[in-house]
Symmetry: D2
Subunit: 356 residues, 4 copies
Amino acid sequence: MTESSNRDSKIAVGVLGATGVVGQRFLQMLERHPWFDVTWLAASERSAGQAYARAAKWRLATPLPERFAGMPVSTAVPEGAPRVIFAALDSGIARELEPRFADAGCAVVSNSSAFRMQADVPLVIPEVNPDHLKLLECQSWRRKSGGFMVTNPNCSAIGLTMALAPLERHFGLEHVVVTTMQAVSGAGYPGVASLDILGNVVPYIANEEEKLESEPRKLLGRLNGSRIEDAPFTVSAHCNRVSVEDGHTESVSVKLRRAAREDDIIGAWREFRAAPQELALPTAPAEPVVYLDVPDRPQPRLDRDRGNGMSATVGRLRRCSVLDWKFTVLSHNTIRGAAGAALLNAELLRAQGFLK
Amino acid sequence: MTESSNRDSKIAVGVLGATGVVGQRFLQMLERHPWFDVTWLAASERSAGQAYARAAKWRLATPLPERFAGMPVSTAVPEGAPRVIFAALDSGIARELEPRFADAGCAVVSNSSAFRMQADVPLVIPEVNPDHLKLLECQSWRRKSGGFMVTNPNCSAIGLTMALAPLERHFGLEHVVVTTMQAVSGAGYPGVASLDILGNVVPYIANEEEKLESEPRKLLGRLNGSRIEDAPFTVSAHCNRVSVEDGHTESVSVKLRRAAREDDIIGAWREFRAAPQELALPTAPAEPVVYLDVPDRPQPRLDRDRGNGMSATVGRLRRCSVLDWKFTVLSHNTIRGAAGAALLNAELLRAQGFLK
Amino acid sequence: MTESSNRDSKIAVGVLGATGVVGQRFLQMLERHPWFDVTWLAASERSAGQAYARAAKWRLATPLPERFAGMPVSTAVPEGAPRVIFAALDSGIARELEPRFADAGCAVVSNSSAFRMQADVPLVIPEVNPDHLKLLECQSWRRKSGGFMVTNPNCSAIGLTMALAPLERHFGLEHVVVTTMQAVSGAGYPGVASLDILGNVVPYIANEEEKLESEPRKLLGRLNGSRIEDAPFTVSAHCNRVSVEDGHTESVSVKLRRAAREDDIIGAWREFRAAPQELALPTAPAEPVVYLDVPDRPQPRLDRDRGNGMSATVGRLRRCSVLDWKFTVLSHNTIRGAAGAALLNAELLRAQGFLK
Amino acid sequence: MTESSNRDSKIAVGVLGATGVVGQRFLQMLERHPWFDVTWLAASERSAGQAYARAAKWRLATPLPERFAGMPVSTAVPEGAPRVIFAALDSGIARELEPRFADAGCAVVSNSSAFRMQADVPLVIPEVNPDHLKLLECQSWRRKSGGFMVTNPNCSAIGLTMALAPLERHFGLEHVVVTTMQAVSGAGYPGVASLDILGNVVPYIANEEEKLESEPRKLLGRLNGSRIEDAPFTVSAHCNRVSVEDGHTESVSVKLRRAAREDDIIGAWREFRAAPQELALPTAPAEPVVYLDVPDRPQPRLDRDRGNGMSATVGRLRRCSVLDWKFTVLSHNTIRGAAGAALLNAELLRAQGFLK
């Protein structure tokens, strides 16, 4: 065991919203993390004071780690919380609670949508726009208490943006039309009623299309001084819920600014490496984008766990008769699309010296 | 019982490929048909000679009609067959068998893809292009034996085209980008393996995108003398299989040639009536296109049976930031998308004097 | 239209708990009922005052009947309610509300479990124990206001009891071991979370095994003056939830008191007819128990709608090496197991002169 | 890396039927096995000569191991095969092929049902009846060529028998009534048609009940010289297929020969350890039987992977009013119920000196 995995030298972290679906993923991914040590779990008033095993209805396929089972659930206030907070809160609650933690000096690494589009809050995928972290210096919390807030994108925006990033870089993007087929775990627990989704498709997810149409443009935007200029492409999204437990599948058509050949595009995906790979961040996948050269992939059941759930898997690149090219992209919505996204953000923050 | 439903005055019909999923729908829909009387069932050599109940593995939720259970399955040859044949064959077999029946003087009302795009074979949705039946006069079978062949579109093309038809008529179509989420019954029986689709999405259906990109253009094309000029729009299709028993859902973006307001588009759908409604064909739905003004519909489990499975249901009309408008359309793939489509074609043929 | 279907001569009825899954089935089944006319809908305070279409999230595959869409939802109090009330309430609420309606002179035809096992409340399946309605005369409500209460069994008990009734009558029952595989609609809406049941089995349904072990004994019990003597057999139940929308499937082993041959047992099921069939009650199935002589049936998707959802379907009768015989029984849990059960009870009540 | 994991010192093994669902599990589990090195893959004539990646449609959620992708698929004959053969064949083919390999001197570790009940072939669960391996000495193959054959039980029998073994040992078994809810992967690929199982239950699996009623009695039987005396209890089985990918769930009622208290039974399960644990076999789970003390477990989606898929998980122990006790047991059908079962058998064989 190396020094960095020694518990004493780890950074103490807390999880806000620890009992939900994403909160559980945080605990699963943090159980043996070499850099972070979970010392504090918080949830709603209803759960506070109970042991975690009692407060949470654990829904993951790996057992609840023993060390969290007996940990008490704290009230969601900054007093007594560690300085690094992973937040997995509903948007409405996040809007109220997260600023309090940043204000109290915490590094808030948030998965919620509440502040993603706020001008001074970086919305980051470490492989895509690590430089946006510079926005942190503009946050008033930072100046006041040392606290700050970083966010990761929506679970359907992240896979799409990872597939778009190499295209934007190499060929320029002009238009994107995307149709999602999203897993039920994206709606939390209890979330989607079984009567709504068994043998069914629900062609609507509240507020999802708006996120998918705006977040990729901020993520692929250019940092200009203290603000992000959105990337100059448009996204049109159709969001559907399907009968899948985990893994969001997306059918994508794109119009590029510069001509591209099939091999160039596939090459751009396969060669895509960035800061997390260079820094060998613990949760970084070896290949951020995996391209599969078979006709019927990616599929959520077979491909969502690639790169331990941190890779986006792309397939079926072919000509689009309306725009230029079309393809399918898949990513794990509660790993790369939520807890893993925040965790990789935290690892990048530490590597860049923001966490101590 | 009116004269037309008197069995003696009904037109004798046969079903080719009677044991498959679509063949079973034919029998279900023809059991009490006022104009047609099923007197002949045919299937592969393996089934020939057996009683239908034994040859077919009946998979519908209504019991196998008693009168078909004991009917013998005939060999698939024109000798002894009635003059009107509903064909529900795999494409490869259809290519070989259907011409034999047309050549022998039969009216072949086919659901297969084998001859849909052949220049002298009408591809018809009675609400959309009933005039294309004039092509029948160009068929060499017609001149030789009196036989002919008419086809209906692919199960994913039909719902889309029904939604597009009022748009093309009122506003002109320029581009269509469509992503399908198709039911497993579209693949026949045994068809899709459960290990492939439980909790999964398969982003590929062989040859399906090609059909969806070409058939709507022929259907909405203009009859010019003895040929169809394809309608001048392009379709780009993404076809996916999802974990749904019946009902194909499609997310559609369209670019129109003329400006349209939301109310005009919804009005065009709601007011859409055509030959089958005017002729009061027995299988015609009162409303070919139903528009639902609620945020999360249509859904396959709740809406596929509208109009006894013969209506296309549309919802979620909203602006598309890349093309002009976007919406969701749903139709029942083995009723309006297969057996019901052929049956309505046959009813139109009779109403126009082609069947006696 | 016969006199009995004339609206003026119909009996006005109300539905308590009209917005839930069972409430919706009541409306679907009552839409065109020849004897009953729904004039009053009630639900929780939250819904009261709204139009039904707005208050209810309609989840059935047939559209919400137009005539109910605009009907206002009333507060759940007897004042202003008609004299015949179908009740589809959660047990806790039923315990409080149902007696108020009976006390106010209403005939309460209840689907809830609250009073099923109360000594003076008949628990009735019209085909099984219509004579138990005599208990109504013992109810204090009856004497006081003319009101009364009748109940139908739990959704998993009813199919089992219909299959057991001919066995008890002909051969005597000693022991029953039953394992259920129950549909999600039995838990109401939203009910079972999709994350709990997709690709899964949940081997527990709160309070269900207790009902399944006690209700069949009361149903098959003997009316002795003013009380029911439970039938002298024991039931051991294992209740599981499976990924099925509608239809409860049950694997049953039975020990009989008298020797029985296979043909005798199948004959007992097939010949089973009772009061509802003799009286030709509108909702009565022609065959209460359908026996299928094929190896892999009944199946929920294919058999739940037999007899318009009012038949119990049995199959796979074979020797049990531990008890005597074993078989599979299936019934539709929200039709024969809930709304249809209550409706048939009401029809029996009217036929016996209890409703005016 | 220890010496035993050095490739040169490993035992070369082959997989017969390598392209099927169980064959794939073998490769997944053998990829990094410390004792065995897969050097030979065989499948049907259709696949022979192709690279494995081309011949097999890989259906597991982990990628096909690189080292097997390019390995050629051999013809299924003993010539050129290694001396240890894992067999994952359909029963009919196994009946023909497996004796050829044993005859040629191979150790055939078979998952098929063909020879399980043959008197001189041991049917083994290493935790339950390791002593039955002594039967190998009675096999004529052994004497002739040194070859032999060992089998593991059916996928539904193994979880049941693991739960029964501690009960038989401590309290004696008299009767067992079991209802299974089996996953689709148990039927291989393509196996169960999606139209048969989506939203459905199929209450029949060919030949399964017979296996489940006989195999546990041989497994728990007593070795008496050169034969096994079946254990003196009876099993009555109801086998159902449900909409689950992996993991067989079983509702079990048992009658014991000696009185048992709840705590004693749970203790018997929790303390159950046997040869694989004592020998620390690589694939042995730490706890062969895990008892969960929560009301709604085990569940296939959440519990099938316990002990890396090698544990049987039990829950819901409670009184049975017909027999004595009832409970639910779950095990992973393609790991503990197939490939993992055979692998553990092979590890036991090596530990006992049967493999060199």
